[in-house]
């Protein structure tokens, strides 16, 4: 049966190379990953940036270069324009009797505190040699904005897995080939698994390639792939149901896109709801997937927490799977 399942996957993969919509769906996440990399300058860089004037004292510039990435500007106006850009940088301008810190206003408090801290050290003439403490960590090993964007990208890829399955089923329906498969020794379960494989392989592949492009080489890959695989289960169910219930590609794609609603709601709930209201999102497997991914991408995940999230994703998805399976089986008969 495994050979037959793989044969179904190989056929689907061949058809995918001949279907512009499928090519687009598979390639789009990679393009978005490149987009995040290109159009969000600085989010891959977690070091602190300090903007100084070129005519600032050499001693001050050298001191700051020890502790931050320093950018030099010809005038206060140039420095202000730089500070007003999207990424985080703190400007320092000497205004007698001391330095004034220029910020945009929406920076991470950590950056402002760090800039103030450096300024105090310089003003007081304290150097590394005078330090008695070992380390001060703000626990910002990975930029939070980047983590959120990448996490959203992963959930979008998972939604696209459902769309790939849905389009595959619509193709079978349009060509009237489900009956032809039903009179071969391939079991219905084998067919369902075979038709799901392209979604699984292409999505896990897209996740890996996107994370590599975005510089997440040292995350726990097993964790991220496990969360990806389990959270795909629900989109598979939606993919099969939409494929079987739709007569054309557009209707199927539109139906699967509705999955974005619980995905977007889960992300919004996780990010915006107060801690005491978080329980209102516990029903959504995407909430747990987003939470697990957030921990993994920011390198704060441990196996017990990830396994709890995976278990909840699986449990909720299984309930929906049990309810949906009779309808899927009937549609494939």
């Amino acid at each position: 049966m495994i050979a037959k399942i793989l044969r179904i996957f190989r056929r689907d993969a061949l058809v995918a190379t001949r279907d512009s919509m499928l090519i687009l769906i598979i390639a789009m996440p990679i393009a978005l990953a490149v987009g995040i990399l290109l159009f969000a300058p600085g989010i891959t860089d977690s070091s602190v940036r300090i903007g100084l004037l070129k005519d600032d004292g050499a001693e001050h510039i050298a001191f700051m270069e020890n502790y931050a990435q320093v950018e030099l500007f010809g005038s206060v106006q140039e420095l202000e324009r730089r500070v007003n850009k999207r990424d985080e940088i703190a400007g320092m301008v000497f205004m007698d009797p001391g330095y004034e810190i220029i910020v945009q206003g929406d920076e991470d408090p950590g950056l402002l505190n760090y800039a103030k801290f450096l300024n105090s050290l310089f003003t007081l003439g304290i150097t590394r040699e005078d330090a008695t403490a070992q380390m001060l960590s703000f626990e910002k090993t990975v930029p939070p904005l980047k983590t959120k964007l990448v996490n959203m990208l992963i959930l979008m890829m998972i939604m696209l897995a459902g769309m790939i399955i849905s389009l595959g089923i619509v193709e079978e329906k349009a060509d009237n080939t489900i009956n032809a498969i039903n009179v071969t020794p391939v079991s219905q379960n084998g067919f369902i698994v075979g038709k799901s494989l392209l979604g699984v392989v292409s999505t896990l592949g897209s996740i890996v390639v996107s994370l590599l492009i975005l510089g997440y080489r040292d995350i726990d890959w097993l964790m991220i792939l496990l969360v990806g695989l389990t959270s795909m289960m629900l989109t598979f169910i939606v993919g099969f149901l939409q494929g079987l219930g739709s007569d054309d590609v557009i209707a199927a794609a539109a139906g699967v896109k509705m999955t974005m609603l619980p995905i977007a709601g889960s992300i919004a709930g996780y990010e915006l709801l107060a801690e005491r209201w978080q329980w209102t999102m516990y029903w959504s497997p995407f909430y747990w997937a987003y939470k697990a991914n957030d921990l993994i991408l920011s390198k704060r995940a441990d196996w017990p927490t990830v396994l709890v999230c995976v278990g909840l994703v699986l449990g909720i998805s299984m309930l929906i799977f049990i309810m949906a399976m009779p309808k899927i089986r009937k549609g494939l008969s």
Binding site: V15, D19, N176, A180, V183, S333
Partner: protein
Amino acid sequence: MITVRNLSHSYSKDGKMAVNDISFEIERGETFGFLGPSGAGKSTTQGVLTGLLKLQKGEVTVAGYDLNKVRNERFNKIGVSFEQSNVYSKLTALENLKYFADLFDVPTRDPHELLALVGLEGREKDRAGSFSKGMKHRLTFARSMINRPELWFLDEPTTGLDPAIAATIKDIIKEEKAKGTTTFLTTHNMYIADELCDRVAFIIDGEIRLIDTPRNLKQRFGQKLIEVEYIADSRPVKETLKTIDDGDRRKLAGIVTSYDIVTMHSKEATLEEIFIQVTGRGLL
């Protein structure tokens, strides 16, 4: 090869039966025709026998497998050619056959040979989506032979084909019969049934009215007829007269002596005429 006992099937819960308590047997190597008009229950019966429809009531064994115990391996022995062609548009003719060949557990036929057999040689690398309706139908027919079936279900195998291709298809069916393949032929084309089938069953309103060989049916129900066309009052007149009816025989003698005969043919009753006689309904 097929045993059906008291098979009933309904699509609704109101007690209306699409197939009602039918029973028949088909011997190994036999070509069995299932004749009836649209909605008579032909497709439902074939759907149950091929496993596409769940067996609701009755006892059915197909190729040695009891349909109450679902075993997909039985499809290794079965080939099904559907009335509505069903091939992958985005795959070439050759890829279609190779794909299905890989889904069986038994030695399969060479796809090139099958494509040549149905007149699709030279079109192996063309995508099925670019094929005409007739070509898709031939590809569907070729696919049904890929696993060298012992039992072959054919649903309207020549519908929509031009006469030359239809003749080729009929020849293939005869060749397979000569090899010992059992064929279950569903059709409303009485000429095909008459030419190919060892026995035919007439089904109407979900019930089998009669099962026999075409020859026996003609002997039992057929009447020798004479079709005569003659000129009367400068106008052509056409009449069909029974040779066993005294009145018709006298009338025929009168026509021959009194009018100019244009054409005159003796004619056997067709299966369609016998079907109408038995069921009171036409095949279309």
